[in-house]
Symmetry: C2
């Protein structure tokens, strides 16, 4: 297969700019929370774009959107090659995270249509509900239900911080669809996404061929100390929950560094009680996010965290609770799909490297359903989930062409 | 002077129990925020108790309440010996902090009246507005205005977190009085208060003869790091505001311990932004409360804090802002008043020690207006500002008698 087909960069840029206006912030960022009014508007636009590109659109019971371009066997002629991502954002997030993958997938289908190419397998564009987890927890809800990781009923009953149920918001914005949200045969799943780290930019590469997603563990730790007055309480009698937590913040950093170049560890969320200038903190709750390219390394990191937590609690004389919140093993992507992405990059003369994704993506759940792979494009300054999030369109063009050609190889030309 | 006069313990206990019901929590604590409806009720009770004890009651423009028992020269016959404290509490605070000093002062006046004693100087009971600073900031507002530390207008315009102005609440609860809130001649000021620390209980002493209030410095520190995704951002490129803050939390502890047994240091308030499990903290704001028994020691502690903050910022590559919020030098109490308290303890056979107060009190402002001293009673477990706050009534009885006899010595018998 060596079709000279290419995506139309100007059309891609225009479509991208249009989506970026929906929920735009004053400083070129995006606030487009899952199932908000802004999400409804972008969904309506995406459906219109898909239909204009000749796709039959279906909405499932989780609000996931699928637009299918028929293959040689018609619209139901065999398992599709699915390309997708999400259109929700974090609050004051960026314009690229998620939406770029959807726009590139739509552009890939348009390019195939323009070139009059008939694929053996249908091509399909997927938009998953509530990937970010900023409004409803957990993240990647739409793909989780599709993959059978979470019951539809449980997803429906998830509430945002105002107590609003996910199912009510799905209905309100008109995306409580009729299609079952359940596993079905798929030839492959491909997702283009920004890297959200600095490695591609540092190496001046346009594309990352993603081999899988790192192993991830989230742990919640609570230290119970003694709340006392910060003045008359001598240092020797204190049991300060924040002093214990500070030891663990340091330990999380040290553990990651000790394990090499790739493991990471972060205390991102921390809450002090009563949080008063002149009160010794009686209670501190915080989370630890640890990730590693190998499950054994993550096991080590978790064990060392437990040690550090015990040591900090003992040293300060505070009581501790440790709750595992989440553990996702290393998700290796399918060698055939990873190979198709790499072959496309080579054929197109795109500078690339293989790497692991440090962040979770819907691809993680899709990998349990069908052969899966991802295409990364660089994040300027490694930044994401912020208004400064950006990717050069020279890189995006190359990434979108890699996505297109990998999809065509997997779908086959009829 | 060796009057056999003593306070009436049963009456003191009954009055204490009555005040403790006003704003009581389910677990024997107290929520009685300044100028709330509960504050109005306790103020009305206090005024009634004062009038019943033969006092002329005046309310000043800050809502401070003064009840004066005439001396030999009548109600305006010379500067009074003032005994006082406050009746507001922190949220879910204790029944003793503040209110105990007011109840003991009232009981002292009752005991003098019952014994038919005529003092040379009038005796006066003072109740200061908004000592805790829990609702309106800063703390000790009523005594601060009286001492000329804060303009009445500025105090009036202070707003609580709902935006309600202090002056409007004073008016609403009927305590916007007509008397000027300004310095006037006073023979002495005496305040009985719980220790809020463990030293008296540890030494099995009933009373602390307070020599002054430690020097206090509050500092607000802000670290500005780079908010990034906790997954794909390698450890080597991070600028994590919380890691820098954790270093300072440890340093605050270490600095206090290095300076000896008495200096203390606390990070009580800390805020992480954006405070998301999988985001590297981009900004952390926190406060440091440092106290020392000598100003030079506090200078050292502050200088070492600055060093530690600079070192942490440099090590993590984050930007830092440091704002001094408050600096109160050591407040030494008046030797004559401290001596009168000590002499009373000795005469009454009360086990006592001299000590410094680690917490601020209205006495701090009063010390700038007249000879001032304090009487401490033990805090069980050193606890305060919590529902478990407690003091044994055997100790309270001794403390109240020390207050009474010190006041009588300073007022003189006619």
């Amino acid at each position: 297969m060596s079709a000279p087909v290419r995506i139309d960069r100007r059309r891609l840029e225009a479509t991208f700019a249009e989506q970026a206006r929906i929920g735009a912030t004053a400083r070129d960022g995006l606030t487009r929370l899952a199932l908000s009014d802004e999400d409804r508007v972008i969904r309506d636009r995406v459906v219109a774009w898909l239909e204009a590109a000749g796709c039959a659109v279906r909405i499932d019971r989780m609000g996931n959107i699928f637009g299918r371009r028929p293959g040689a066997g018609g619209v139901d002629g065999g398992p599709p090659v699915v390309m997708g991502s999400h259109v929700d954002s974090v609050p004051t997030g960026g314009r690229f995270d998620g939406a770029l993958g959807v726009v590139c997938a739509i552009e890939a289908v348009r390019a195939v249509a323009d070139a009059g190419i008939r694929t053996r397998h249908p091509l399909e564009v997927a938009i998953f509900t509530n990937e970010e987890g900023a409004r409803f927890q957990p993240a990647m809800l739409g793909s989780a239900v599709l993959a059978g990781k979470l019951a539809l009923e449980d997803a429906y009953n998830t509430r945002d911080r105002h107590g609003i149920r996910l199912v009510d918001e799905l209905e309100r914005i008109g995306y409580l669809g009729p299609e079952p949200c359940a596993a079905r045969p798929m030839r492959a799943y491909l997702e283009l996404h920004i890297e959200q780290g600095p490695r591609l930019e540092e190496a001046k590469l346009a594309v990352g061929v993603v081999e899988g997603i790192v192993a991830i563990a989230w742990t919640r730790i609570t230290f119970h100390g003694d709340q006392d007055h910060a003045g008359p309480t001598p240092m020797r009698t204190r049991h300060d929950a924040l002093v214990a937590a500070a030891e663990v913040v340091r330990a999380v950093r040290r553990i990651a560094l000790d394990l090499g170049d790739e493991p990471v560890g972060t205390v991102g969320w921390l809450d002090v009680q009563p949080n008063i200038v002149n009160a010794i903190p009686g209670k501190v709750v915080f989370t630890v996010d640890q990730r590693a390219p190998r499950d054994a390394e993550l096991d080590q990191a978790r064990a060392r965290l437990d040690e550090a937590v015990r040591a900090a609690a003992a040293a300060e004389g505070v009581r501790v609770e440790t709750e595992p919140l989440m553990r996702v093993p290393l998700t290796p992507f399918d060698p055939e799909v990873v190979g198709a992405v790499e072959a496309a990059a080579q054929r197109l003369g795109v500078r690339y490297r293989r790497l692991l994704s440090g962040a979770g993506h819907d691809a993680q759940h899709m990998a349990t359903l069908c052969p899966t792979g991802m295409v990364f494009v660089p994040s300027i300054g490694g930044k994401s989930h912020c208004e400064e999030e950006a990717t050069d369109f020279d890189d995006i063009e190359q990434g979108a062409n890699v996505l297109l050609h990998a999809a065509l190889q997997l779908a086959g030309i009829a």
